[in-house]
Subunit: 135 residues, 4 copies
């Protein structure tokens, strides 16, 4: 299991007139959390793309327990429970400044070769970085 | 059952560097679909808010079957399978210009009184408009 | 001179906690207005891109006279005062439902060849469509 | 004169299919830069709002010199050249990782009392924090 935490401050751009973070903006937080989780492993999503492998989202599930409010510094805890294979499943728990769990999410991404648009297995370099957490 | 269709054209603002509509932007499409489904019933989401009832999203589930591409005119078919009570569940099927199903989604929203932040039942005026579709 | 009008309904996704359309979202409206102005001429921005010419924004100026509010149907009046050459300047006037001018904007875009990243003149096909309006 | 620097990493959510940061997303960067410039002074935009004063944007001017690319860590240098009075003018210079100036912007905001929707002078508490930089 690999767990990583990232912080995100809610911006005016994220809020809506209800005074909440708009429900569509959590996708940005998940994206940041995933990419920073990879970066902290020493793995660059950008370089993976440059090597010809993309990671489009296949499925997403979100539960909005309590609102995220303007200027709050949120903590996003990202968990990879299973080693990526043909797909990679990320779980997120988002906590507000009072350490209350306000949101959970789960995203399934696949690995796709840019040149032929075909699904592929997770890159070996990524699996190598994750090795210590799944043995 | 109540079914409604809305069109949405994919904009540059919606795309990402993969050339797809960014996965977080489907939330905007769902929102448009819900509000226009209500409007076509003769029910205004805006007026509901002005009367003191909000509809925050509680849960969302999305499946990304194939990408939505720049400038495509999408059709969003919105279905209310069950009459709203304390919550309201919307199902969406999104079709591209070739009439291929590229995306499905399901959003659960609750009704909330603005003044005391408490959950309430669906407004009577909304239920009245939906009556013919659930009898 | 070429003038075109497009409508846009303000969505929850566009609002912020001030209850206004967020100032960054006007860029989306300008984009829609430009592309629809071209489409109404019988010219497709998408096809221009496919032919290898992009139109990145070089400069933008916006004046926020009064807020755009949730669910308002705005009218965006787009004007090309000068025939595009190496650059194209679009002017926008945005009116709310009461026909009050709430916003003005001006965007300068350039034409760029995708293959060599160099500036080019406006495509002949576009100029041909605009011909009747500038003679 | 008050100068402050903030970093921002370009996300997939920010990019468009041209592979650039979408031109509308710079507004988010300006917002972050302004609020963090205030925070570094010991002044909270959020608390100002809670005290009843809003800062809507009145005017914005942007120049897009070169694209911001995915995953780049940008530096936004924010400058207040003049002490805020009835309006506050922020200048931004955005540099990429190679320290190349890729973007400049200028935003004029006004101070507005929430209760009566009237323009007011800059709050005394803000001016006090800025005092050392303008004497």
């Amino acid at each position: 299991m690999y767990v990583h935490e990232t912080e995100y401050r809610v911006r005016y751009a994220d809020t809506d007139q209800m005074g909440y973070m708009y429900y569509g903006n959590y996708a940005r937080l998940y994206e940041i959390a995933r990419v920073e989780a990879f970066r902290s492993l020493g793995y660059s999503y950008k370089e993976m793309e440059e090597s010809g492998v993309l990671m489009p989202v296949y499925e997403n599930h979100s539960r909005f327990i309590a609102p995220a409010l303007y200027d709050e510094m949120l903590t996003i805890r990202t968990t990879l429970k299973v080693k990526p294979a043909v797909r990679s499943v990320f779980n997120y728990e988002i906590f507000n400044e009072k350490n209350v769990l306000i949101h959970t999410g789960e995203t399934t991404l696949v690995f796709l070769r840019k040149d032929n648009n075909r699904l592929v297995a997770a890159p070996a370099a990524l699996l190598l970085k994750l090795e210590p957490y799944f043995s």
